[in-house]
C-alpha cells in the first residue's frame, strides 16, 4: 500500500468534522430509509429494477438507436459517442457557435467523470454549478466526496469561509442564511445564462424522454431559463419502456435520501418554447465511455443496474469513517470502486478496493440488486492475476495451508509471548505486530489444537454422524467452541468426527484475490470431508460455512476446474452452520432445554456472513430465548465489528474505530452476556472489551447452548 494512500486514510480519520457528519448521517439514514420503505416489498421492487436495467444493458446499442430516433422525431438533437473527449468537443463547439458566454449546470456525475467544467472554462466560458453542494465544492476547488451529497465533508463554518473568500465577505455559519445567500447569488446567474447543462437519472428509449430528479429545483431552472439545454447521459441510464420509470423513481429517492419522492421530477420529452417564444434547443448526448465493454463482461454487467442512489456509501462502515475523498475524485464508495476501475483503469482501483471489508451491508440495501462485495472481490482477483501475488502473501499461504506447521508456528509465537499473556489474552505483541493489538487483546494459542482434543472426548457410538469443520480459529485458538458443538450434537444422538485432511477454508486466499490457492483449498477440503459418509458437515464459523457451502463452487468455477464441481455440490448440500442445525434438532424434539436454568439478559452481535449470506440471524436469538434468556438488542447489531479476516491486519487504522463503535453499542445495551456465532467476531470483540476492562462475557452461541440443554 502506498504511503500517500495510507496518509489520506489517516487524514480522513483524524478529521472530526468528517467522521462526525458521516457517523451521524449513517445513523439517521438507516432509520429514515427503513421508514421510507414502510409497506413496500423491497425485494420485489429491486428485482423489478434489476430486470429492467439488466435487460437494457443487454441491448445498449439498440436502445441508444431507438432513443435517438424517438427523440429526434420530437425535435431533440441527439449525439452518441463512446469517447469522453468527443463529448467535451461537441459541447464546446456548440457553445462557441451559439455565442454562449455563461453556462449553468445542475448536478451531473457524468460531467464530473469527463471533467467537463475544466474544458469549457479553459475556453473562456463561465460555468456555474447550481446544486448547492456542487457550488460549494466548485468554489472551494474540491471534488465531490459523495455522489448524492457532494459537500457532506464540510461544516457550516467551512462553507461560510468559502462563501466569504470567494463570493462576498462576512458570511456567518448559519445554515438557513447560507442557503438564502446561495439562492440570491445564483438567481441572476440563472437568469443570464445562455446554456443549461444537466445530467439525467433515466433515459427512456421508446419515447426519447429523460427524467431528472432534484430537490432544490435547480434542474427545472437549468432546463427552463437558458435558450439551450444540453443533457449528458451515460448509457447505463437507458431503459426501454416509459412505464419502467415507476420502479426506479419509487426506489431512487428512498434509497438516496430516505424521501418518498424528491421535491421535483422533470420528464423532458422534447424541446419546449423559451420564455421569449423561440423554440429551445435541446441536445441530448448519450455517452458510452466503456459502458458497453462492461455490459459484455459477464461478471461486471451487473454493475450497470446501478441507479446512483449512493446507498452503498451510506451503509458502509468504512465510508462513514473515511468519507469519499480517499476513494478518488469522481465516483466513491462501493459502487464507485467498481466504476473507477472501469471508467478509468483497473490499476486505479488497486488501493481503493482494499478498503472493502466485505461485510455485505451494501449488497443488502442495493436497489439495483448488485452484489457489490462480490464484484470488488472480482476486481481483486483480476488485479492479482495482472500483477501477480506478492511474495509475502505466497509465504503466508504456504504456512496457512499446512495445518500442523501453522499451529506449531502460531503456538511458538504464542509461547514467545508468555510473559505478556494473562487471562488467556496476549495484550502486547512485538513492534512489527503491534498494530494487531491496538485496541484489542488477542487470544492465546491453545496448547493442543482441537483436532487433537476431540480424540480425547468420549462420544457415544451413534448411527448418525456429522463431520466437524473446525477452521483456524476453533482448531487453534478456541477449541472449547468445538467441544461445545460436540457436546450438543452428542445430546441429540449424533457422533462427531473430525476429518484430519481438512485444511484452510480458502477465505484468506479468496479475499486476497488468490483464487488458484483458494480453489486448491476447496479441492483438498472436499476430498477430506466427503471421505466418510456423514449426514451433516457442520461448522461453528460462518465464514467457513459460506466457503464450504458456496465459495468452493465459485472458486473452482472461476479457475475452470469443472471436474471438481459435482463433489463440491455434493458437499454443499451437507453443509450447515451450528445454530441452524441445533435449531432443527430442537424442532425435531431431539434436544431439550434444562428446566430451572439460571438465565440472564443477553445481547446478540450479527456476524456479517452469518446474517447477510446465511440469513440465519434470527435462529440463535430464538434458540436462546427458548432456553429462557432475555434478548436486549444493541444499536446497529448487524454492523460489522471491524474484523473482516485479514482486514484487521491490512488496515488496522480503520478496523480499530469500527470496533470501538461496536464496543460502545454493546456496552450501551447493558446485558452481562454477548452471544455471537462467529469465532472471528468473538476474537475481535472479546479482545476489544478486555482492553476496555469490561466484564461483559462474550461467548459463541454453541458454548452457552451446550450449558442450557438437558
Amino acid at each position: 500500500m502506498k504511503q500517500d494512500f495510507k496518509q489520506s486514510i489517516l487524514d480522513a480519520l483524524s478529521n472530526p468534522n468528517l467522521t462526525g457528519a458521516l457517523g451521524n448521517f449513517s445513523v439517521a439514514y438507516r432509520a429514515g430509509r427503513a421508514k421510507a420503505y414502510e409497506g413496500i416489498d423491497f425485494e420485489a421492487l429491486r428485482t423489478q429494477i434489476a430486470e429492467v436495467k439488466s435487460s437494457a444493458s443487454s441491448h445498449f446499442d439498440e436502445l441508444a438507436e431507438q432513443f435517438t430516433k424517438a427523440a429526434e422525431a420530437r425535435g431533440t438533437k441527439v449525439f452518441r459517442t463512446s469517447d469522453p473527449k468527443a463529448v467535451k468537443d461537441y459541447i464546446l463547439k456548440l457553445a462557441q457557435e451559439r455565442g454562449v458566454k455563461s453556462i449553468v449546470k445542475s448536478k451531473s456525475m457524468a460531467t464530473e467523470e469527463i471533467h467537463l467544467n475544466k474544458h469549457l472554462e479553459k475556453a473562456g466560458i463561465d460555468v456555474q454549478e447550481t446544486d448547492l453542494g456542487e457550488w460549494i465544492i466548485q468554489l472551494a476547488g474540491q471534488t465531490p466526496s459523495h455522489m448524492v451529497m457532494p459537500a457532506i465533508h464540510m461544516t457550516k463554518e467551512e462553507v461560510a469561509d468559502v462563501f466569504s473568500d470567494k463570493v462576498e465577505e462576512g458570511q456567518k455559519p448559519d445554515i438557513p442564511k447560507l442557503v438564502k445567500f446561495a439562492r440570491g447569488k445564483l438567481r441572476p446567474i440563472f437568469l443570464n445564462a445562455d446554456m443549461g447543462i444537466s445530467g439525467a437519472n433515466i433515459a427512456v428509449a421508446e419515447t426519447g424522454s429523460i427524467v431528472i430528479v432534484t430537490n432544490e429545483g435547480n434542474a427545472r431552472l437549468v432546463s427552463t431559463l437558458p435558450r439551450i439545454h444540453v443533457a449528458l447521459v451515460g448509457y447505463e441510464k437507458l431503459i426501454e419502456h416509459f412505464k419502467d420509470i415507476a420502479p426506479i423513481l419509487t426506489a431512487l429517492p428512498k434509497s438516496a435520501t430516505a424521501q418518498l419522492l424528491t421535491s421535483y421530477v422533470s420528464i423532458i420529452g422534447g424541446p419546449t418554447p423559451n420564455t421569449d417564444g423561440t423554440p429551445k434547443e435541446l441536445h441530448i448526448i448519450l455517452m458510452d465511455n466503456r459502458r458497453n465493454d462492461m455490459a459484455h463482461d459477464p461478471r461486471f454487467k451487473e454493475a450497470l443496474q446501478c441507479i446512483r442512489c449512493a446507498s452503498c456509501l451510506n451503509v458502509c462502515p468504512v465510508f462513514r469513517l473515511v468519507g469519499g475523498h480517499v476513494f478518488g475524485k469522481v465516483y466513491t464508495g462501493g459502487i464507485g470502486t467498481i466504476l473507477t476501475a472501469w471508467f478509468g483503469a483497473l490499476k486505479e482501483s488497486d488501493e481503493i478496493q482494499s478498503l472493502c471489508i466485505q461485510c455485505g451491508s451494501c449488497k443488502d440495501v442495493c436497489p439495483g440488486k448488485i452484489d457489490i462485495p462480490e464484484l470488488i472481490l472480482e476486481l481483486r482477483r483480476r488485479l492479482a492475476v495482472e500483477q501477480g501475488q506478492p511474495m509475502i502473501q505466497k509465504a503466508i499461504f504456504s504456512v496457512v495451508n499446512n495445518r500442523r506447521l501453522f499451529h506449531t508456528m502460531m503456538r511458538a509465537a504464542s509461547i514467545g509471548q508468555k510473559p505478556f499473556a494473562q487471562d488467556g489474552f496476549i495484550r502486547h505483541l512485538p513492534m512489527f505486530l503491534s498494530n494487531m493489538t491496538e485496541g484489542r487483546s488477542l487470544p492465546t494459542i491453545a496448547d493442543e489444537p482441537f483436532r487433537d482434543r476431540i480424540k480425547k472426548i468420549k462420544q457415544p457410538k451413534c448411527k448418525e454422524k456429522a463431520a466437524f469443520y473446525g477452521g483456524c480459529l476453533v482448531d487453534f485458538a478456541y477449541p472449547e467452541m468445538g467441544e461445545a458443538v460436540v457436546k450438543v450434537l452428542n445430546k441429540a444422538g449424533i457422533e462427531v468426527i473430525f476429518p484430519e485432511g481438512q485444511t484452510c477454508c480458502g477465505a484468506p486466499a479468496r479475499y486476497s484475490g488468490a483464487y488458484e490457492v483458494a480453489a486448491q483449498n476447496g479441492a483438498d477440503n472436499i476430498k477430506a470431508l466427503l471421505e466418510e459418509d456423514v449426514k451433516y458437515v457442520v461448522s461453528a464459523c460462518p465464514t467457513c460455512t459460506v466457503a464450504l457451502k458456496q465459495d468452493f463452487i465459485a472458486n473452482l468455477e472461476a479457475v475452470g476446474r469443472t471436474a471438481d464441481l459435482p463433489a463440491a455440490r455434493k458437499l454443499s448440500e451437507k453443509v450447515v452452520d451450528f445454530s441452524t442445525l441445533a435449531s432443527q434438532l430442537v424442532e425435531e424434539g431431539r434436544l431439550h432445554f434444562k428446566s430451572g436454568l439460571e438465565t440472564s439478559k443477553f445481547t446478540y452481535h450479527d456476524s456479517c456472513h452469518f446474517k447477510r449470506t446465511l440469513h440465519a440471524d434470527q435462529t440463535p436469538r430464538k434458540l436462546m430465548k427458548q432456553a429462557g434468556y432475555e434478548l436486549v438488542e444493541m444499536d446497529e447489531c448487524d454492523m460489522c465489528c471491524g474484523m473482516g479476516g485479514s482486514y484487521t491486519l491490512k488496515l488496522p487504522e480503520i478496523s480499530a474505530p469500527i470496533l470501538q463503535r461496536k464496543l460502545v453499542n454493546i456496552e450501551k445495551a447493558g446485558a452481562p452476556l454477548l452471544l455471537i456465532d462467529c469465532p472471528g467476531c468473538v476474537m475481535q470483540i472479546r479482545g476489544g472489551l478486555d482492553k476496555r476492562g469490561s466484564k461483559i462475557k462474550v461467548e459463541h452461541t454453541a458454548q452457552r447452548l451446550a450449558e442450557s440443554l438437558e
Binding site: K156, F190, N215, A246, L261
Partner: protein, 192 residues
Amino acid sequence: MSTVLESSALIELFKTRAEAVSAKVERVATKGEALDLIVRLLQQEGVEDKPHCYAVSAACPMWGQAEKSKLATSVPGLKFDVTRELAADAKVGISQMEWALANTGTLVQSADEVDKRLVSTLPLLHIALISTASMLPDLPALLNRIDPLKSAYLSFITGPSRTADIERVLTIGVHGPERLIIVMVDDPEVAA
C-alpha cells in the same frame, strides 16, 4: 359507495403525505370558495401592483373570464401575462396542476408552456390549484394513464424546494419556492 370511501382515503393520504413534506393543504367545495381563498391569501401576502410585490398566474383551466376579472379587480398586483422578469420579481405564483399522487403527496402537470414552470419555480410562494377528482393513488397509476408523447415537459412537485447539502440539515427554499399551498377544489365546475 366503496369508491367514495376509497377516494376519501386517498385524499386523506395525500394530505398527510403533502403536509409531511411541508406543503399546506386547503380543501374547498367550489371554485367560488377557491377564488375567495386565493384573494385572501394574496392580500395576506401583501401582493400589490408594484415591483417586488406582484403575483403571477399561469393559465388555470378552472378560471373562466368572470373569475379572472374578479381576481384582477380584487388583487391589483396579480398578473396573468407572465414574463420571466415578472415571475422573477413576483412574491407569489399561481398555477393549476393536473394530477395528484396520494402516496407521495405529489402534484403533476404537463408543463410544456413555460409560464407554468416560471410561476411554480421563481416566486417564494407557489399556490397550486388542483381538482379533488384528479387524485390518483401513485406513480404507476399516473404512468399508465398518460400519453408520454403528448407532453414534452412533465413536471412533478412534491412540497417546496429543499436542500440538506450543508451538514445534512434540512433547509426549505433553495432555488424554488420556500412555501407551497395546495388548494384542493371538490367541484371546480360550480362557481358558488
